[in-house]
């Protein structure tokens, strides 16, 4: 069973009186353990695709299925629960909570799950994720006391702490220098290979595309090399 299935997914936006199609009948199937890069120029629809895959937006038409569960027609409450359990997000601007330490930022998603793990279990998982992302020493630091690369490692640890089926990283390296960006993608790849975490990340950096196991390209809302449908 695939982790993610997009079937004939379209997403239109109303801009003034004009209706613009950001995605046009996209089909994409992502299998467990994939390390998939979505590439394409700015405005090609990468973020829209990842938003729909992450169930934070709804398609104008088509079906989105996550781990065998159709999610495009789920009510908001059920979507929140689904996201908390099955999806991890890594954002371009890290989006860490500035007043929490690295460890607390990593712990927070566990509190949002319908069934909150007990404190001891949470601490164990947080320590494990900080260890795997190589930032154990930064556990008590706040985001403003860390470099961009370190912050993104915290964000990756946060995305993975809930053991999601799918991690979505939208331009996760766009705010980092070339070397750090390569390290971050390397880290994601390593977690993918060691733990079998499924990653879908968008990038317009051609050097990083080479690190993906599979690359799909979006151009003018149309997907090339997507499989499925």
């Amino acid at each position: 069973m695939s982790v993610l299935d997009l079937e004939e997914v379209s997403r239109d936006y109303q801009i003034g009186r004009e209706r613009v199609g950001a995605l046009k009948g996209v089909c994409l199937r992502v299998d467990p353990g994939e390390f998939l890069a979505v590439v394409g120029p700015s405005g090609s629809g990468k973020t829209t695709l990842l938003n729909l895959a992450g169930c934070i937006d709804r398609p104008t038409s088509g079906r989105v299925t996550l781990d065998g569960q159709r999610c495009d027609d789920l009510p908001e409450g059920a979507l929140s629960a689904l996201r908390a359990e099955k999806i991890g997000f890594v954002f371009q601007t890290f989006n860490l909570i500035p007043v929490l330490t690295a460890a607390e930022n990593v712990e927070y998603p566990l509190l949002l799950r319908p069934k909150v793990p007990p404190l001891r279990e949470r601490r164990k998982r947080v320590a494990e994720m900080l260890e795997r992302t190589g930032i154990s020493a930064l556990a008590r630091r706040r985001p403003d006391e860390m470099s961009g690369g370190e912050r993104q490692r915290v964000a990756i640890a946060r995305a993975l702490v809930g053991r999601p089926s799918l991690v979505l990283a939208d331009e996760a390296t766009a705010n980092l220098d070339g070397e750090t960006a390569a390290q971050i993608v390397g880290l994601m790849r390593e977690l993918n290979e060691r733990q079998g975490v499924t990653f879908v990340f968008s990038t317009h950096d051609s050097r990083l595309q080479g690190m993906a196991k599979r690359v799909v390209e979006l151009r003018d809302g149309l997907l090339h090399g997507g499989r499925g449908c």
Partner: protein, 407 residues
């Protein structure tokens, strides 16, 4: 717990803004505490006036006195023989400190060519002093049991009858069986009792002389002082239980039953207090609504992130309301501190009010910190902060996740 920590730390994100918000809340809170404190001080002054200036804590009358004494005053007098029995009962009741008898009457006072009407209060000289803490002797000296025909005149009455300490007056009144009677008295002193009408009309006469004037050994009321005003109702209930058991047909009325002026003023000021609380709460809400909105708006992307991670809208609202509650509590604590400090200083210095209507002297008041009202003021400030937070919080929670992340 982490949510509490998050809410708490968020307060310190923008220190300058937080300080401004706290200042608005604390000023509102201390304004409520101080306004309430002034009013409760006035209440206390009125209560003390009512108890120690006039009514005592309790008054004991013949049953039916309240309804019938105006039509037939003699019917509702207490026979003198019952007084020792009442005294004996009162001596066994906790909180009772002083007991005295009173007999009121009216008559004419004549000083050479001047004759004026007056209201007489027949009192026991020594005990009565304890019931009149507010009364001050402005000329001469107070009543003395050693001089049963030595009287005190209210300042206004003394002026009307052109008499002062050492002068002799002839008092005329009706006896209980309708005849006219007269006695000669000597003016021992002149008093100010606080209320102008009281001072213009009242003459304090030793009970012995008053009983001789009205030609009766009966008394109108037995007045009781307690050591604790809060015990008034309990003592009344106890006496109403004991009197019938001892064959006494008496009724007991509290100072609250008798002090109608006090009750009306308190009711009026309580309403005013509620209006002021409402106005201050609205001012606090308006003062901080803008900063709360700004603060929440700046964090839209953060809420989008939390929503993307699975937080439900109600969690965002809860988090922001918790922040509002923390801010409100901190502001209320600061307001309480400032309010208590100002109240202490002002109470030490005293606020001199001009003579209230009907009063014959200015009133020096302070600020009373009544625990229940202080808690109410703090709770109102916290509630106002939470209300000011609620609207932007609901708006933030309703923002679509993708829109919030785009901010």
């Amino acid at each position: 717990m982490l949510s509490f920590r998050l809410a708490f730390r968020n307060i310190f994100r923008n220190v300058r803004r937080t300080v401004l918000t706290l200042a608005a809340i604390s000023v509102g809170c201390s304004a409520l505490i101080l306004n309430g404190g002034v009013i409760f001080n006035i209440f206390r002054g009125l209560r003390e006036d009512a108890i120690y200036g006039r009514h005592g804590h309790l008054q004991i009358f013949r049953r039916g006195y309240a309804e019938g004494h105006l039509a037939d005053p003699n019917r509702f007098m207490i026979p003198e023989v019952e007084y020792p029995r009442v005294q004996s009962i009162l001596s066994g009741v906790p909180h009772v400190t002083t007991v005295t008898r009173r007999l009121s009457f009216s008559g004419l006072a004549q000083n050479r060519d001047t004759t004026v009407s007056f209201l007489g209060e027949g009192v026991e000289p020594e005990a009565d002093a304890k019931f009149h803490r507010q009364l001050s002797i402005v000329a001469g000296e107070g009543l003395a049991s050693g001089e049963p025909f030595g009287v005190l005149l209210g300042k206004g009455l003394a002026e009307r009858v052109h008499a002062g300490p050492g002068d002799y007056l002839t008092l005329l009144s009706q006896t209980t069986d309708g005849a006219l009677n007269a006695i000669d008295v000597r003016v021992r002193g002149v008093f100010l009792g606080g209320l102008k009408e009281y001072d213009d009309w009242t003459m304090k006469v030793p009970l012995e002389a008053a009983q001789k004037l009205v030609w009766s050994q009966r008394i109108e009321a037995i007045v009781v002082l307690l050591d604790d005003t809060a015990a008034t109702r309990a003592v009344r209930e106890r006496l109403e239980d004991l009197f019938p058991k001892n064959g006494l047909d008496l009724e007991v009325r509290t100072w609250e039953d008798l002090a109608l002026f006090h009750n009306q003023v308190v009711a009026l000021f309580r309403r005013e207090l509620h209006v002021i609380t409402l106005i201050v709460s609205v001012i606090v809400i308006l003062s901080i609504a803008n900063t709360m909105t700004m603060s929440i708006f700046e964090r839209t992307r953060e809420f989008g992130t939390l929503r993307a991670m699975g937080a439900r809208p109600r969690r965002i609202v809860g988090l922001l309301l918790l922040e509002g509650t923390f801010l409100g509590l901190a502001g209320a604590a600061a307001g309480l501190l400032v309010g208590a400090l100002v109240a202490r200083v002002v109470s030490r210095v005293g606020i001199t009010y001009p003579s209230p209507p009907g009063s014959s002297r200015p009133y020096v008041g302070g600020i009373d910190l009544v625990p229940a009202y202080v808690i109410f003021s703090c709770a109102s400030s916290v509630a106002a902060t939470v209300v000011a937070t609620a609207f932007p919080a609901l708006r933030a929670a309703r923002t679509r996740v993708v829109d919030a992340l785009r901010q």
